[in-house]
């Protein structure tokens, strides 16, 4: 059963690559947004909040189509990026990473935001009286205390990115070796007469990856509590 063929491996590795790149690129933005939402009240905050959570509630096909309109070769942003910086998203694995990054963003941001909200502001005050400028307070107190939440968010975001299907297939199609992730490969296999065995193998792989992600995320959440108590 676990005799995975080279073509299937390609899909698995591509999924891992897309998920990893999406998560790593999205994390700094996720931390910045989470910090803004956790610490500041500003005009339009609920709008920002809503836009971030939008991919969670919109049909993925809609998100994918909007990405195609914006980041496609003829899209407003996509055209400019292709002409000036040579960055192309359409029908490339980078586009898959972009779609996955946006779809998983809400899951990435939420644990980070919660963990930043849980950081005791009085510790930050103590740090500032000890001579730490605001950015140093963030790097030496806030972020380290929120780190388990950041990692939990990254793991969840990664798991979501790996499984993303609708937006990705709409935006960058289903090209083996370039944009065909595990989900897209499973979908393709279910459409052909004797793809069942291969589909099941990939189903097994994605269950294993998801389980590992969930357990890791739980472990980070437990670490967070210990860290807050200094044990």
């Amino acid at each position: 059963m676990f005799d995975i063929s080279p073509a299937e491996w390609t899909a698995v590795l591509l999924s891992l690559k897309v998920g990893l790149v999406a998560t790593l690129v999205a994390t700094p933005f996720g931390i910045a947004i989470a910090w803004l939402l956790a610490r500041y009240h500003f005009w339009g905050k609920s709008l920002v909040d809503a836009v971030i959570y939008l991919p969670l509630v919109l049909p993925p096909v809609v998100t994918g189509y909007l990405l195609l309109l914006t980041f496609g070769r003829k899209g407003l942003v996509g055209g400019w990026l292709a002409d000036h910086l040579g960055i192309v998203f359409a029908f490339r694995w980078t586009g898959a990473a972009l779609a996955c990054g946006i779809m998983s963003f809400p899951l990435l941001v939420r644990p980070i935001r919660l963990s930043i909200e849980a950081v005791d502001r009085r510790l930050e005050q103590a740090a500032s009286t000890l001579g730490a400028a605001p950015w140093k307070v963030f790097l030496t107190v806030t972020l380290p205390l929120a780190l388990p939440g950041v990692l939990a968010g990254m793991v969840l975001g990664f798991a979501k990115a790996i499984g993303e299907f609708g937006a990705t297939i709409t935006f960058v199609s289903n090209i083996p070796g370039e944009t065909q992730t595990i989900s897209a490969a499973i979908y393709t296999l279910t459409q052909v007469p004797d793809g069942d065995a291969a589909a099941l193998r990939l189903v097994g792989v994605s269950i294993v990856i998801s389980m590992i992600a969930l357990v890791t995320s739980e472990w980070f959440a437990r670490r967070a509590t210990q860290r807050m108590h200094g044990t």
């Binding site: 005050q125 500032s128 009286t129 000890l130 400028a133 200094g230």
Partner: protein
Amino acid sequence: MLHVDVFKKLGDFTVEVKFTGEGRVTGLFGSSGAGKTSLVNMIAGLLKPDRGFIAVGNDVVDDTLAGIHVPPHRRRIGYVFQDARLFPHLSVSQNLHYGRRMNGVAHDHAHQDRVVDLLDIGQLLMRRTGQLSGGERQRVALGRALLMQPRLLLLDEPLGSLDSARKAEILPYLIRLRDEAGVPMVYVSHDPNELRRLAAQVVVIKRGHVAAFGDADSVLAEIAPQFVD
């Protein structure tokens, strides 16, 4: 020398305090809710006065007329909180060195040894902060504030959360600190006994205003005669 002349409105409550501290230890005495912590937060820079002036020695850290408000991280005023506020993700030793690192002060082994000896915390250095008793936490917090080499030390009821046995354990360290560390201190307390043993001058704060100010023995004799022999 510490000059304070501030006005701050906090909801329905106003803090309006003026005094000049000259001794090594200036005591701030008052019941809880009198505005002592707000006042200390203003000296530390954590709270900005609506109007007024604060200077440490000749250095003006707040002057609302001149538009001066030096942020807390540039004041170099050590602050020991009632609840210690040690960083839970750092070891005791890393906590002690935090202020020194943030201020870019070179590692001075002699100074560190003096502080560690003074507070008797040498055996705690490798511990996590969660494993410390209340008294140990306060001693580490004192050490952390001292190692940044502050020009003024604010102590906001550092014994407030300790039982009387622990208080008796820490008080001698504070007296040693006053006599050996050479850093002027502002000591906040609602316990006349502590102030009588530590402070040269006492400012009595009542509902945000100065009710009495003068040398410790006479002020405390007036306010709380039962505590003075």
